[in-house]
């Protein structure tokens, strides 16, 4: 009897290990970001295509069942540095990139700032265009 209990306890232990390793908790929502220049040729096509794909995926039971894919398209029309900091982790890192540099080199700082602002606000862009 004691032996049987021992076996049982090992079995339970194995089961719990297996459960812990193989079954992940699928979240109900997964967020992805999309970064592109809405007003450009490829951006216009991409905007429609990405929305269509997300729609198709969420309707398709064979892929990501039980999880809703949500795309946060970074609209490029809202402006400013504050928006970047409040945005996705990517945007926040812009602040990180820029801040340490501004102590030592004003020019580098402004280059970074402009570059990152361009991601968010390409209408202001000075040297980046919405190309490939």
């Amino acid at each position: 009897m004691k032996f049987m209990l021992h076996i049982l306890s090992i079995f339970c232990c194995l089961c719990s290990c297996a459960l812990g390793q193989n079954i992940s908790v699928r979240p109900s929502v997964v967020n992805i970001g999309a970064l592109f220049t809405f007003s450009s040729t490829n951006g216009r096509a991409a905007k429609v295509a990405i929305a269509a794909a997300v729609n198709d995926i969420n309707k398709d039971p064979s892929v990501l069942r039980g999880t809703k894919l949500v795309v946060q398209m970074q609209d490029t029309n809202y402006s400013g540095f504050i928006g970047i900091v409040q945005g996705t982790p990517f945007m926040s890192l812009a602040f990180f990139l820029a801040s340490p540099l501004c102590h030592c080199d004003n020019k580098t700082y402004s280059w970074f700032r402009l570059t990152i602002v361009d991601i968010v606000c390409p209408k202001r862009q000075l040297f980046l265009t919405g190309g490939a």
Binding site: G33, N42, Q74, F90, F95, F96, S99, D118, A132
Partner: protein, 453 residues
């Protein structure tokens, strides 16, 4: 945690991709770009950068194949001097070198250049020997270059323009093609990323106008290759995520200790967190294999989409005509790459394209080069003889030259397809036969002559 993103679709621009790929590496968030085609954006330097479109390395291989196919030896590259343009042209240089061809002149245009600056660059390029221009630009700047080239008569007969796929991306998505715009680019050859005619593509294209209406922000554009790649990119991510969850992946984020160390706590970096199992998701994305709108979506061991191929398009009249295909598998052909994939590998299969209409509305392939404007004229020393005047003679009154040799020379020059400027220089006094030794010595001293009768 809900707000954290586990992957980014984009960026669109190669310039931006260079900057934020470092960030993607740090935060372990896959960056899936459907439009950054700069060949130097490789997974070696940026492991979290996943290119879901073909690298310009392949596009440049197809441009070089075209140049080789038509037998041109030297080209002029006109490009936007940013990461995308510069690195694309550098790749073209490599591909041409493989075929013993070369870029004769690089005409770089400053990003954001005014039209006057662009015109100055073009005028300089026109002075060079090559008449084959490869234009690698963005759509806004590229269209400007064509309109300037048209005004400078640089899109007339004798010129060849090969535009990279920015042009088809622009023209394909334009709701209607204006004849004024197309008149500036008649006879141009351009490329389009080849996408297979899949069921999913047909469905997407047929629903496009409805989708555009739902998406209030965009103004009636048609789908282009990049749109299809963007569509497949989201599916690629969805399949990758599915595999990620199936193998026990969890979505969790933790603060980046390295960032804290750098910032020293002075900055509010709470929003920054690393995607713990980002590497697992990246692995799963790299392994996806499914039938998308563009064809089979799969990455090879170098991180490139498999089976790169391009349509070769000729702009004629009011539309685009596909004159053939280029695939990495078998080079130039008039049958679609899908047909060739089914056949055994044979890169030396007959390289063939349908005939193109060139600038100046001709089917005759342009020669591709001229004597440069700043070149010297051909100076020809003519002995002013007293004997055998039937062969060559100089009329002492009018200083005109004549005779059998001159007639043969003139007939030969007329057969050339390009102009050669030349001048006859009489030598001798006309009263006695001149000394040929003296005549020859003038070549050495470079006084006048390059050719003698």
């Amino acid at each position: 945690m809900e707000k954290d993103t586990i992957a980014i679709i984009g960026p669109q621009s190669s310039v931006v991709a260079h900057v934020i790929s470092h960030v993607a590496n740090e935060l372990q968030v896959p960056l899936m770009s459907f439009a950054a085609t700069d060949p130097t954006l490789t997974p070696l330097q940026y492991p979290f950068f996943v290119r879901t479109v073909h690298s310009d390395q392949f596009q440049m291989a197809s441009v070089a194949s075209l140049i080789d196919y038509y037998g041109w030896k030297m080209v002029t590259a006109v490009y936007i001097d940013d990461d995308y343009g510069r690195n694309g042209i550098s790749s073209l240089d490599d591909e041409l070198a493989k075929r013993r061809l070369k870029i004769l002149y690089k005409a770089a245009i400053r990003p954001g250049a005014k039209k006057s600056e662009m015109a100055a660059v073009l005028v300089k390029a026109a002075m060079m020997e090559s008449r084959v221009f490869v234009l690698h630009a963005h759509d806004d700047s590229g269209i400007d270059v064509f309109s300037l080239a048209y005004n400078l008569s640089m899109t007339s007969g004798g010129y060849v323009w090969i535009a990279t796929d920015w042009l088809t991306a622009y023209l394909d998505s334009a709701p209607r093609l204006e004849s004024g715009l197309l008149s500036t680019m008649q006879g141009v050859l351009t490329l389009r990323q080849h996408t297979e005619n899949t069921d999913r593509k047909k469905t997407l294209v047929s629903q496009w106008s409805k989708l555009v209406k739902e998406d209030s922000g965009s103004s009636g554009s048609l789908p282009n290759s990049y749109g299809l790649y963007a569509y497949d990119t989201v599916w690629m991510l969805a399949h990758g995520l599915d595999a990620f969850f199936n193998s026990g992946g969890n979505i969790s984020f933790s603060p980046d200790p390295r960032l804290r160390a750098v910032a020293g706590g002075a900055l509010n970096l709470d929003a920054l967190s690393v995607f713990d199992e980002g590497m697992l998701l990246l692995e799963k994305i790299r392994k996806v294999n499914f039938m998308g709108a563009t064809g089979t979506v799969k990455l090879d061991s170098d991180g490139n989409l498999i089976l790169p191929a391009y349509d070769i398009v000729n702009i004629i009249g009011s539309g685009l005509r596909t004159i053939g295909y280029w695939s990495n598998y078998s080079g130039l052909s008039i049958v679609s790459p899908e047909t060739l994939y089914k056949k055994p590998f044979n890169v030396s299969a007959n390289q063939e394209l349908h005939s193109a209409i060139w600038p100046g509305e001709t089917v005759t392939k342009p020669r591709g080069w001229v004597f440069p404007n700043n070149g010297n004229e051909l100076r020809i020393g003519v002995p002013d003889r007293v004997s055998y005047r039937q062969f060559v003679s100089v009329d002492n009154q009018t200083e005109t030259v004549g005779g059998f040799c001159i007639d043969v020379f003139a007939a030969a020059i007329n057969l050339l397809q390009y102009p050669v400027t030349y001048r006859f220089i009489p030598f001798g006094n006309g009263r006695e036969n001149p000394s040929y030794t003296e005549l020859i010595s003038q070549i050495v001293t470079n006084v006048s002559s390059t050719l003698y009768f």
